[in-house]
Amino acid sequence: MHPAFSVIFLTTLIGAGQGLFLALVTAQSYAAVDFVSIKDANSFYAYGSAIALLLLVAGLFASFFHLGHPERAWRSAAMWRTSWLSREVIALPTFMMFVFIYGTMHFFGWDPLILSVEQPLQGQLSLYVGIIGTLMCFALFISTAMIYACIKFLQEWHSPLTVINYTLLGTASGFTLATAYSAIMAPELVTLFGTWASIITLTALISRSAALIRNSRIKYKSTIQSAIGVRHSNIQQKSMGSMGGSFNTREYFHHARMGWFKSIKWLFMVLVFIVPAILLAMGMQKNNYELLGLAFIVQYGGLLLERWFFFAQANHPQNLYYQTV
């Protein structure tokens, strides 16, 4: 498939925003049971939510460049019963609303105790909003990934690994960002976020590698024989019915050189997993926000390449009809 930059930015930006929000709610739930204590917790959560919201808005903005008619985008919520894209269109603004409410509640300190069963466990309204937001966050991860995973004849995508990878990679980048953010705002949380960021990054390394291994062994169900219905082992296309190319030759091929295509794979493996893991370990030791910030920037840049590769690697069966001019 042709990797569209609008979709690459959409999926990576909202992934990082979602991961950052998950990190904030994680910190608050740790704090609720007194595992950690945060000085000036409200502004930490409020500004963190603002950054998450900013990433989500940027992702939403990028997505409009994918549309031929962005002014009609409101229509795309209609078919949520059948279309994962429609479900994503509903899940993204709903999640953004919860991030906004969560951040606002902390910013103004509206956080009444609504439930206090025993002394250590304090029911805070904002935590409940955060938990509903977390559910919406996972709904959004699933919707985004299922857009790709539900197309059964794009065999590289049609796997539960697609959903796992979208979730883990987004969460990993968000937690890395949270580590860098906490190094500035709340140094007491660096170890918590940094440890989780490293664990999630390394888990994502395993699941993304599993997807790469799976995809390298794919046996395509469609062949040129089934495409035109002629049983012969030697079939060559002589003409595709157009001379200057068409939508079919532009949309479904990545048009990158094979060497470049292959090097991207190794490049993103290094940039998404190995370099950030090292930078996270170093930054956590020295409590250095520059190293941790670099870890996020490198990981996010790597994720752009990862997403490019994700699209480019998918081989659409229609390509069987477009092999030669």
């Binding site: 031929g68 197309i151 219905g229 002629v230 595709m240 019915g241 009809y321």
Partner: protein, 260 residues
């Protein structure tokens, strides 16, 4: 109670959709002349839905939107080759994977005749439906920025202003070798159903379960089997005894009798 749920499902399916219009394309007689391509473009670019884009038609890198394309495939190794011309358009699947993925409902399958259509006024141009079509039958119009595809000339086949024999898709009327047939594949007695049944009509990429309504007819060779004993008569009475009749030298010939 039905022991075979698949069969029951088929029954229900055919009840909800009485008619399924489709094209039958006969690869045995298609000569690859592209008349269907040009007539399709002419009819559909002149329709009320607006023109289909056509960039650099007479220049370098010509490109544009087409509902129908004719491709050519060489089968076999030289000198034992055969060139198959392969017209390709939307197959109007009975279970179209492109319809449920559309987020706006712009892509839909008509209940009354099974035609898969795009509402150009609702399409947001997200291209998701084209990803979800394994045949590459949908093309984005680069100027109107909406998804386009074969409509089976829905603005023509029901037009009562046209003479009845012209109420067919444009490509069908244009085909000089009659390689394209149009009809209802759910009606078992229709011309198209009969020909699918009798001439070995098949569907493309059956592995995805899309159940395309359009069918293709394979190349067919007309051969007769001639056995050796039909060339040399084994029961020829003249050869039966192994002795050929010889001329009797002493006998009178016609010349002997008639010459005086």
């Amino acid at each position: 109670m039905n022991a075979n749920p698949g069969y029951a499902g088929l029954q229900e399916g055919s009840e909800t959709q009485m008619t399924q219009l489709a094209l039958i394309i006969d690869l045995n007689v298609c000569v690859g002349c592209h008349a269907c391509v040009t007539s399709c473009k002419q009819w559909n670019t002149s329709g009320p839905a607006g023109s289909m884009c056509d960039d650099n038609p007479y220049d370098k890198d010509p490109t544009g939107t087409f509902f129908n394309r004719v491709q050519s495939f060489e089968i076999g190794t030289y000198p034992n080759t055969e060139l198959v011309h392969f017209p390709k358009s939307c197959l109007h699947c009975e279970d179209p994977p492109c319809v449920p993925v559309c987020p706006t409902g712009a892509s839909y399958k008509r209940e009354q005749d099974g035609i898969v259509l795009v509402d150009y006024d609702k399409c947001i141009g997200c291209k998701y439906c084209s990803w979800a079509c394994p045949y590459g039958a949908r093309e984005l119009d680069e100027h109107q920025k909406v998804m386009k595809k074969c409509t089976l000339c829905v603005d023509r086949i029901y037009d009562e202003a046209l003479p009845e024999d012209e109420r067919k898709p444009s490509c069908v009327l244009a085909c000089p070798t009659n390689a394209r047939l149009f009809g209802d594949v759910h009606d078992s007695e229709s011309e198209v159903s009969t020909i699918i049944r009798e001439e070995g009509g098949y569907q493309l990429m059956p592995e995805w379960g899309t159940k395309p309504a359009n069918h293709y007819l394979p190349r067919r060779k007309t051969r007769i089997k001639i056995h050796d004993d039909e060339l040399i008569r084994s029961d020829n009475p003249l050869k039966k005894e192994g002795v050929k009749p010889k001329k009797i030298i002493d006998d009178q010939t016609l010349d002997d009798i008639t010459s005086w």
